[in-house]
């Protein structure tokens, strides 16, 4: 009996041991299961970052079929990232995860809403969410690696799926309407298709940039600017004074002073600029929607589409100032045809709110073609 008691105590001790993220600076011994990364843990019926990982969020997020996202960051102990305006320099061994989930109601139906339902102290209530996938970005000596993990129906574990996956989901909104989503988990190459922002330079994280991260976040111990929080914890070096930090707007829910144009350009930045920049995968189109490109022909104003095929929608220019209905951009953002829609990857439904924002912005532009 005493031996059994000892065994039981040992098991309990094992169960309660905090998880530690995996350090994998090189090699290809990627865990087959997400739990092998140790980035997320279950506690008290919640999914939360590991004790040494940080949750983070972005100003304007990439649209992903209305999926909510739990983002986490882990740096090897004693290491820090170095600030730069465009791309932080993350140390070898850094792990980023992004868990895509939908909130659900008491009947288990998936909800289409934008409410922030993450408890800063406890994480996601597993009774109130449906986990779909978690994408891992790992910084190794040879560069970044992107790995897609798909959650099982029982919501117990996510498994590495090199070739991606798909799921037929139905979302319900507060007005009682439903939306069918043919949710696509990208394969590892498709991950690289977006994350290789500059040809020949390998994959990079897209979200953790100064202009996207520069915002307040609710932490367990209070609200704080994210970048300052990271610096205070020693995760980030070289942060400039707050006035020198770039900041994208909150598209659709602007803070004071954030103009319609800033919102629209922030939306196009996060959704399009990783490909549509002078060295990105869509450089062949000549359409550059990155923040460094001024409004003009390269940003699509009065620009003839190139190699768009049916993606032109019989419209003559990418952005027709004053005429959203004559703009290829609007046509492609509202499309759900795989050969037409923009972004090409990461969604299977149209983002009504984003489309409304772009329509308002283009309508507000002066001049003609």
């Amino acid at each position: 009996m005493r031996g059994a008691l000892c065994l039981m105590l040992l098991l309990l001790a094992g169960c309660d041991r905090p998880v530690e993220p995996l350090y994998l600076p090189d090699g290809e011994a990627y865990p087959e299961t997400l739990s092998g990364w140790g980035m997320l843990q279950r506690a008290d019926g919640h999914l939360q970052p590991a004790a040494t990982a940080q949750a983070y969020d972005l100003n304007t997020p990439l649209y992903s079929d209305y999926a909510h996202k739990l983002r986490t960051l882990w740096l090897p102990p004693g290491e820090s990232a170095r600030y730069a305006e465009k791309d932080f320099d993350f140390p070898v061994g850094t792990v980023l995860t992004k868990t895509f989930y939908y909130p659900k109601d008491a009947q288990g139906r998936l909800l289409k809403n934008t409410r922030d339902d993450r408890d800063p102290a406890r994480g996601l209530d597993l009774e109130r969410v449906r986990l779909v996938e978690t994408r891992v970005l790992l910084r190794q000596r040879q560069g970044w690696v992107a790995l897609p993990y798909v959650w099982d129906e029982a919501q117990q574990e996510a498994t590495l799926e090199w070739a991606g996956a798909s799921a037929a989901l139905t979302l319900h909104d507060e007005r009682g309407d439903s939306l069918a989503v043919d949710y696509q988990v990208p394969d590892a190459n498709q991950c690289a298709g977006c994350h290789e922002e500059r040809h020949g330079e390998g994959l990079k994280p897209l979200g953790p940039k100064a202009r996207h991260l520069n915002r307040d976040l609710a932490y367990a111990d209070g609200v704080e600017n994210q970048l300052q929080h990271w610096q205070r914890l020693g995760l980030l070096q070289g942060l400039p004074a707050p006035e020198g930090l770039p900041r994208n707007a909150l598209a659709g829910a602007p803070r004071a002073g954030e103009s319609l144009e800033q919102q629209a350009r922030s939306y196009l930045d996060i959704n399009c600029a990783h490909c549509h920049n002078p060295k990105g995968p869509a450089r062949t189109s000549g359409l550059y929607l990155d923040p460094a490109t001024a409004l003009g022909i390269p940003y699509g104003l009065c620009k003839q589409p190139v190699a768009a095929g049916k993606g032109s929608g019989d419209r003559l220019v990418d952005i027709h100032p004053g005429q959203p209905d004559a703009s290829v951009l609007v046509y492609r953002v509202q499309s759900t045809d795989p050969s037409v829609m923009m972004p090409e990857l990461g969604r299977s439904t149209a983002h009504r709110e984003g489309l409304e924002l772009l329509t308002r912005w283009i309508a507000s532009l002066p001049g003609g073609c």
Binding site: Q304, A307, A308, P338, S339, S348
Partner: protein
């Protein structure tokens, strides 16, 4: 081991008995093939056995040094009918890439897109939209873009709603021994430096072979040779999407030059084109305003040499109302437009005593063939068939020589 397991899979699928008409995605085949593409290493040869394989997601390859090989363009068929995700059938972002002996059918968008690599070989590949020409077909069949040292040979491209074989923004390209049929543009060379297009058949398209420059891109093109091709009966109605550059191509165009420079057209058989066997035109004829181009774009076609071709009948029923009216007014009710149609745009900054120097213009040495200047800049007011400005000679363009790896494979 992989080929064996694939063979076992094929046998299993054969045993299951496919439905004849409804495409059923071969999910396991698709996952296995995409996983093999992801995990490929330089030097990998990925063999795809004979069979019609139904995929509902696009495929992609990012590893350099890979060969994809099927059992033949009518034996190994990747069918993307019903494709749900991915803008292409196969997207390749790699160098030292070879693909041969297979078909890609009915992709939602482009069938085969190769972006940004060097030393590309595309051999005995067929791309086709099997319902026939339709605006909703994908834009491009075979589409290397921003590539270098690229060989396309033995290819077949059918039914694309923009171009069957479309080479964009590339350098050092050979397209040969290929067939382009019932596309809007059969073969199109765009913003490309150094292209040799020879021994091809372009037939049943809206326009047979096109050489274009598009504005607002990182590289203007020049230096294309078109020779020993059969460009025949390209009279298909234009089913391209409005807003795309090919939508401006008149049905019944043989070889079309738009805004490109240093193009040599020789020793081809070009005939039975109801608008014109050869068209030389400027960006201004595509329907766009100055607001659509950056200041450094050069829209004028210059140094175009046309010699030693065999022209069949043409110009009897031109597309576009202006050309129809022009034909009747200038050549009579039963007349034909000349073999070569030029829109008449020249760069005013390069005129000397009101004339373009011969070394800059269109030089024709083609027996009895004549050229009509339709005077686009002045709304077709001074239509001219005066050949005096076109009796000139341009130095021959150099042959394109591919880097040794590609050429050895090609020999």
């Amino acid at each position: 081991m992989r080929p064996l397991s694939l063979l076992a899979l094929a046998m299993l699928l054969a045993g299951c008995g496919d439905q004849a008409d409804t495409p059923v995605a071969h999910a396991d085949f698709q996952k296995d093939l995409q996983a093999r593409l992801i995990k490929a290493k330089p030097g990998s040869v990925i063999e795809i056995p004979a069979g019609t394989w139904h995929l509902d997601r696009g495929l992609s390859l990012k590893v350099s040094g890979v060969t994809i090989k099927g059992a033949g363009m009518d034996k190994t068929i990747l069918s993307f009918k019903g494709q749900k995700a991915g803008a292409e059938g196969l997207l390749v972002d790699a160098s030292d890439f070879t693909i041969e002996d297979l078909a890609l059918e009915d992709s939602k968008g482009d069938a085969l897109k190769v972006v940004g690599g060097k030393n590309i070989v595309i051999r005995n590949v067929r791309t086709e939209w099997t319902n026939g020409p339709a605006t909703e077909n994908g834009a491009y069949g075979i589409y290397p873009v921003q590539t270098e040292n690229t060989l396309i040979e033995g290819a077949v491209a059918i039914g694309a709603s923009d171009a069957g074989i479309y080479v964009g923004q590339s350098r050092n390209v050979v397209v040969r021994n290929s067939r382009a049929e019932r596309n809007v543009a059969g073969i199109e060379i765009e913003n490309t430096i150094g292209a040799d297009v020879y021994d091809n058949l372009a037939t049943g398209n809206t326009g047979g072979i096109l050489v274009f420059n598009m504005p607002n891109l990182q590289q203007p093109g020049h230096g294309t040779r078109i020779h020993r091709n059969k460009v025949e009966g390209n009279n298909h109605d234009n089913f391209g999407h409005k807003g795309t550059p090919v939508a401006s191509v008149p049905a019944g165009s043989g070889v079309v030059i738009n805004s490109n420079d240093d193009v040599e057209i020789f020793d081809n058989d070009i005939g039975n084109h109801r608008t014109a066997n050869v068209i030389v035109s400027s960006y201004f004829s595509t329907g766009y305003s100055d607001l659509s181009t950056s200041a450094d774009f050069d829209p004028y076609p210059e140094r175009i040499a046309i010699h030693g071709n065999r022209f069949g009948p043409g110009g009897d029923s031109p597309d576009h109302i202006e050309l129809k009216a022009l034909r009747i007014a200038k050549f009579g009710l039963n007349g034909r437009l000349p073999d070569i149609l030029w829109d008449g745009y020249v760069n005013p900054a390069k005129l000397v005593d009101g004339k373009l120097p011969a070394a800059m213009g269109i030089c024709v040495d083609n027996g009895a063939a004549t050229l009509v200047n339709v005077d686009g800049p002045n709304n077709f007011k001074n239509i001219s068939t005066d050949m005096s400005a076109h009796r000139c000679t341009l130095p021959p363009l150099p042959e394109v020589v591919l880097a040794s790896a590609g050429e050895q494979k090609g020999s």
